[in-house]
């Protein structure tokens, strides 16, 4: 049976959908087998017929879901492998590390115990005319003025970092809230967190003085084991504490003048000659006497840098209506010398 292309096309829909009679189906098969050309024609029709089915088939596969699976395989394996190495290394290192850290901590506690047992009080004093600068075990910086001394432990093991001062010192305290710093001068306690301040408290005086540069300090007086809180200081304040009545006087000051001695400078700003003389005699380890009561209340203003006593006295003579007389130092029998004696008097006009 011969079929034309036209006749065949009419049979195709039925053939492809399987609705053709056996007779028509047989003739179609026969036609397909008749020539390669016929078969190509049929196959092209078949493709067109099934293209939508193929698309449907493709749509069954969800590439986004599959990519998620892929990502866990290609991204995690690498990081997982990497992690496994880290974990292995960590596990291997952990044991010696534990042993070592155990050893270190045991050694440290032993060492600390030893140190605590060996904590001794130490005293540093500054010779006359010299400023001594040093650091305490906690890093606190101390400037110790001429003729002053500071007593402190070699290691701060207590809850309080306590030092005892006699004379004048400037402190730059290392901050440590868990272990406050305290300066004791006679019966005055200066409690500090982290701050810098100047303290003056000479044994031959009935008063102490604190100048706060920065931070905060708490002052309290302690007499016969009774503690009396005096108050808290703010930066730029100068507190003078009088022992006799346990009272404080507070004033706002320019702090420079009070801490200049650290750098070897002596600054006087509207100070009475009485005060000037007191500081000069300490600074130069000399005995200075004021012969004329009029001079005592003379208000003086000057800055001295690295001058010796004679130079200072000469400057005083030039800048104020004051004259001076120096006595020679006398050798004593024990080989020491007497202090230099200076007498101040009114300049003769």
């Amino acid at each position: 049976m011969k079929l034309s292309f036209g006749k065949l096309d009419e049979l195709l829909p039925g053939y492809l959908s399987g609705e053709l009679s056996d007779e028509d189906r047989a003739s179609m098969d026969q036609w397909r087998a008749a020539s390669p050309e016929n078969e190509v024609h049929f196959q092209n029709s078949l493709k067109a017929w099934e293209s939508i089915s193929l698309l449907n088939e493709m749509e069954q596969f969800n590439s986004f879901e599959a990519l998620k699976k892929i990502n866990t395989r290609i991204l995690n394996p690498e990081t997982t492998r990497w992690w496994i190495y880290i974990q292995r290394a960590a596990a291997i290192l952990l044991l010696p590390l534990l042993i070592y850290s155990g050893y270190v901590s045991v050694r440290n506690t032993l060492l600390k115990k030893q140190q605590i047992e060996h904590v001794v009080m130490q005293t540093i004093s500054s010779r006359q005319g010299m400023v001594t600068h040093f650091e305490l075990a906690d890093g606190t910086k101390v400037w110790l003025n001429s003729g002053s001394k500071l007593q402190f432990p070699t290691l701060f093991t207590e809850d309080l970092r306590e030092v005892k001062l006699s004379g004048e010192a400037f402190f730059e305290v290392t901050k440590n809230e868990k272990q406050p710093f305290q300066v004791n001068v006679k019966d005055l306690n200066i409690e500090v967190l982290g701050t810098s301040f100047n303290v003056v408290s000479y044994d031959d005086e009935q008063m102490s003085e604190v100048v706060l540069v920065e931070g905060k300090v708490k002052l309290s007086a302690e007499k016969d084991q009774v503690k009396k809180v005096l108050g808290t200081m703010n930066p730029g304040q100068r507190v003078v504490y009088k022992e006799e009545n346990q009272k404080v006087e507070v004033e706002e000051v320019t702090v420079d003048k009070y801490i200049a001695w650290r750098d070897g400078n002596l600054i006087f700003r509207d100070d009475k000659m009485e005060e000037v003389v007191k500081r000069l005699s300490r600074w130069f380890n000399a005995e200075i006497f004021i012969n004329d009561p009029e001079i005592k209340s003379y208000i003086y203003k000057a800055t001295f840098r690295n001058e010796n006593l004679l130079q200072v006295l000469n400057l005083l003579k030039i800048s104020a209506p004051i004259d001076f007389r120096i006595t020679e130092r006398k050798a004593l029998k024990n080989g020491e010398f007497t202090k230099q004696k200076v007498y101040l008097m009114k300049k003769k006009v």
Binding site: E10, L12, E19, L54, M58, F61, K69, I70
Partner: protein, 188 residues
């Protein structure tokens, strides 16, 4: 995107390029594999395995042909390897041998899902509205010719003539796009 750019990106292990290629070809590679392994999950595993190795060994995959040819050829080899390991029916095997012969020199006829969809849309657009309606009822909705004639109230002969017309046009439009392996896949 240019093939050469994709291949270079893949060699440099750029994940964005890999993701693009994966999304573009995954479904068609799976559908393609279905002619060898008539098992949906086996097919997906096989294609995914291939992409994992493609990523891990990217610098060692030397791609000299077009990317598409490379992907389909690689998947085909994997399918054939898979069959070797499986005890496959003799009949099935002979069928594969027969059907894989022609596509060796016509690999460029492979289509990605998006490409096929575009070609079909374009071809369907060339049909008259009535013709397209009938063809879509047949192919998309899976109705028999008899069912279409009942639903539309037209004779079965008219339905067959319209489908015949549609095939005539689609054949012309799609023939250069459609892969030869589609035939093999259909016969299964």
């Amino acid at each position: 995107m240019k093939d050469i750019l994709l291949i270079e990106g893949l060699e440099r292990r750029e994940k964005i390029v890999f993701d693009y290629i994966f999304n573009y070809y995954y479904s068609s590679l799976c559908a393609f594999s279905m002619q060898y392994l008539n098992d949906r999950s086996a097919v997906e595993d096989l294609v995914q395995d291939f992409f994992v190795s493609l990523w891990i060994d990217a610098p060692h995959h030397k791609i000299h042909s077009s990317l598409k040819t490379y992907l389909f050829a690689s998947i085909k080899n994997r399918c054939l390897d898979f069959q070797k390991h499986q005890k496959v029916l003799e009949k099935y095997k002979t069928f594969i041998l027969f059907s894989t012969k022609p596509d060796d020199d016509s690999t460029d006829h492979y289509l990605a899902e998006s490409e096929l969809r575009q070609a079909i849309q374009k071809s369907l657009g060339k049909l008259s509205p009535r013709c397209r309606e009938i063809f879509e009822l047949s192919r998309l909705n899976g109705l028999s010719n008899q069912e279409i004639s009942t639903q539309l109230g037209i004779s079965k002969r008219t339905v067959e003539l319209q489908i015949s017309n549609a095939l005539k046009i689609l054949r012309k439009e799609l023939v250069e796009y459609l892969p030869i392996w589609l035939v093999a896949w259909l016969i299964m």
